[in-house]
């Protein structure tokens, strides 16, 4: 399609050596300041609520997504967090064209893809791929791993001619850290973490520029989660991918994201760099969300102020007027009921040069530190990660004798 893109594709097929080259050439182009490759504007998705069996009458709508805007730069990761039902997956599905927006624009390199169809749409869709949450149900149990990963080539045969597909799929297995010999196995022969790798390999098959990952590690055990997060990190560096990374785990999102958007009831309420959001949040909802995250350090119990929100998220079919968070907000006033707060830099921070000066949709935005500053909490076993785990000098046969044998029982 674009000259640089097909060049990239070739490079990838060259294998290891070219991969290194590619990574180097990309390192020069810093993500920040680049033209966004994706611009999302006022995106809306309403699902009609109907009544009646024969004659369906629309009696309302579930406002799953109700005016979401953000930019995504090439090679960057935008994290999206928010509670169940706030519309994260619906945004993801619209980005990859699994759902048609009710209104709004999704511009890929300046072109609104919601208005495209036919071949033009197909060409764009290739560049935006999705990785799903559930590694147990998102893979067809009757297809081999090779067929699953190679399936996108059926729709886009131009990416890999028939004769090359098997080798390409094996390359992809290798890239995501699976044995290329597993190509004829079935999904049930793999663990959750391995299945997620298969899903990622399929997402990579068409050499996309953007990967939308909807809760890609949420279903995995802690020890396996880290493996998959590291894989995503590595692939991003290697292939210059941009990620939209959706999760409800705020710690993982901080780890992987350059910027973070916080959603509540179909809207983004605050968005900024990871430092702005985690260390200088100004929206009450973000503050409550961060303060509710359990921190894996018992010493933090004394340091932390927890904001316990009352009540539940209201129904997206009937969101509160004005600020949608007002029914749970401890700062709500009359103005919050009457006036919708816009997502912009709040007036109080507009002139000052402070990390609190980022977009936040609150009439009474105030900075509040809820995550203890880094270093205050003692990190357990501060060993720097290495490929094969921490080297603790006990490899081989000449290790130390076992510890004293005071049997407890």
């Amino acid at each position: 399609m674009h000259a640089d893109h097909s060049g990239r594709k070739e490079a990838r097929e060259e294998g290891e050596k070219a991969r290194a080259l590619l990574a180097k050439s990309r390192a020069g182009s810093a993500a920040a300041g680049d033209e966004p490759i994706l611009e999302v504007r006022d995106l809306v998705k309403h699902y009609p609520l109907t009544q009646g069996i024969l004659i369906k009458k629309q009696i309302g709508a579930v406002k799953a997504v109700d005016g979401v805007s953000f930019d995504l730069a090439a090679g960057e990761t935008l994290g999206i967090v928010g509670e169940s039902g706030c519309g994260k997956s619906t945004v993801a599905k619209m980005l990859v064209h699994l759902e048609q927006p009710t209104a709004g624009a999704i511009k890929y390199k300046g072109e609104d893809i919601t208005k495209l169809s036919g071949r033009a749409l197909k060409a764009v869709r290739r560049n935006i791929q999705m990785v799903f949450q559930d590694p147990y149900t998102s893979l067809n149990p009757r297809m081999t791993v090779g067929d699953i990963i190679g399936e996108p080539y059926e729709i886009h045969p131009e990416v890999a001619p028939k004769g090359e597909r098997r080798r390409k799929v094996q390359d992809l297995l290798d890239v995501v850290g699976l044995n290329p010999e597993y190509i004829n196995r079935y999904p049930h022969q793999f663990s959750g973490g391995q299945r997620q790798r298969i899903g990622i390999a399929r997402g990579l098959a068409l050499n996309p520029e953007i990967i939308v990952a909807d809760e890609p590690v949420s279903a995995l055990d802690v020890s396996v989660q880290a493996q998959v997060v590291n894989l995503l990190d590595r692939l991003q560096a290697e292939f210059g991918l941009a990620y939209v990374f959706i999760a409800h785990d705020l710690s993982i999102v901080r780890h992987i994201s350059d910027r973070v958007g916080v959603m509540y009831l179909g809207r983004i309420v605050e968005i900024g760099s990871d430092e702005q959001i985690y260390d200088h949040p100004t929206h009450p909802y973000t503050q409550a969300l961060l303060s509710a995250v359990p921190v894996p350090d018992p010493a933090a119990r004394e340091h932390r102020e927890r904001i316990i929100l009352h009540g539940d998220v209201p129904s997206p079919a009937n969101p509160p007027s004005g600020c949608r968070f007002r029914t749970r907000c401890w700062k709500a006033q009359e103005r919050c009921e009457l006036e919708v707060p816009l997502l912009a830099v709040p007036a109080v921070f507009r002139l000052a040069d402070t990390p609190a000066g980022h977009d936040s949709a609150c009439h009474f935005a105030e900075e509040k530190q809820v995550v203890p500053p880094e270093g205050l909490l003692e990190a357990p076993g501060e060993t720097t990660a290495e490929e094969d785990g921490p080297s603790q000098g006990v490899d081989g046969e000449n290790g130390p004798a076992p510890s004293g044998s005071t049997r407890a029982r």
């Binding site: 590291n230 993982i252 901080r254 929100l309 990660a385």
Partner: protein
């Protein structure tokens, strides 16, 4: 000691062979104490809890050894109806999935009230008043009006609070909460954990909190037991285990979680996968994944070593693990 589990063994007879789900679990809880049982899925946390509660599927399950002492008496040696009485009144369990553990065709009030009718011989009218009181206590808004509602009419967080109300109803001395907040959002999770901790303090109950979330554990537990492949591999007071783990598995887990207060470098990842319970590796079950494994680890199953007072580790190299901080 309120509850003491000693060398418990549970196996499941399946078509593919015998799955050794629990292989010598030891743990204890005192009154007013919170024990967190931590481990990955399949490590045997729930099976152990089901054995304690006496609700294990038998068959295919079989308790092949051990003792479960409740207030000094072995539950496994009790008669069925005595056991049932204890289960109803003295211990209660809260499950991960409240919707499927509440009866969908009975109103919440009926389900709460029934406990008082059956176990306390109350009239239905008094029982209903009790139900409203309980719902109030777990902060269900407009309890009086909602006492006749059915489970599906409540949100996930409210249903979990209703489960807590049921568990608390007869003021048991022991509560086992099996992943009580795993299905909930963080803000709701915080509400529910807060409530659980408050009621526990009030009633001075023993609480066994089963979870895979190292964060939740750090927030509420007094002590921790870490499970791997059906064994407790490390147990310790909560502060010590986070500061200085004495088992390589615990240490790996702690290192592999991203942290809210830190922008990540590469995460430490424990290599490999949890073991297949049909073929647990000989010796230390963790040895194929352990960066410290030696020849000896592939031989005998490591016993529990006393690391310090109230601290145990099932690792031959616990001292080196502690030192290599």
């Amino acid at each position: 000691m309120l509850l003491e589990v000693r060398d418990l063994h549970v196996e499941f007879h399946t078509r593919d062979g015998v799955a050794k789900a629990v292989n010598g679990v030891n743990y204890s809880v005192a009154e007013g104490e919170t024990l967190a049982v931590l481990g990955e899925s399949g490590s045997g946390k729930s099976v152990t809890a089901q054995a304690v509660m006496g609700i294990l599927d038998m068959p295919p399950g079989r308790i092949s050894g051990g003792e479960i002492l409740f207030k000094g008496r072995d539950l496994l040696k009790m008669k069925k109806d005595e056991r049932r009485k204890i289960r109803g009144q003295e211990m209660a369990m809260i499950f991960q999935d409240a919707l499927s553990s509440l009866n969908p065709v009975l109103s919440v009030g009926e389900q709460l009230g029934e406990m008082f009718v059956v176990h306390r011989g109350m009239s239905h009218k008094d029982a209903k008043a009790k139900a409203v009181e309980l719902m109030d206590r777990v902060r269900i808004p407009a309890a009086k009006e909602r006492v006749g509602n059915y489970p599906h009419q409540f949100s996930g967080g409210m249903r979990q609070r209703i489960m807590i109300a049921m568990a608390m109803a007869l003021e048991p001395s022991l509560i086992i909460a099996d992943e009580p907040t795993t299905a909930l959002d963080v803000t709701v999770q915080a509400q529910v954990m807060d409530l659980l901790a408050e009621l526990q303090r009030e009633l001075n109950m023993g609480l066994i909190l089963i979870t895979h979330d190292l964060g939740v554990v750090a927030d509420v537990a007094d002590k921790i037991a870490v499970m791997y492949a059906g064994r407790i591999v490390e147990s310790a007071p909560v502060h010590e285990i986070y500061r200085a783990p004495a088992h390589p598995y615990t240490k790996g887990l702690l290192q592999s979680i991203p942290r809210l207060d830190q922008k990540g470098r590469e995460l430490y990842a424990i290599k490999g996968l949890p073991p297949n319970l049909l073929h647990i590796p000989p010796g230390c079950a963790f040895n194929p994944r352990c960066p410290m494994a030696q020849e000896i680890c592939r031989g005998e199953v490591p016993p529990l070593f006393e690391v310090a007072e109230h601290r145990e580790s099932a690792c031959y190299f616990w001292k080196e693990t502690l030192d290599a901080r």
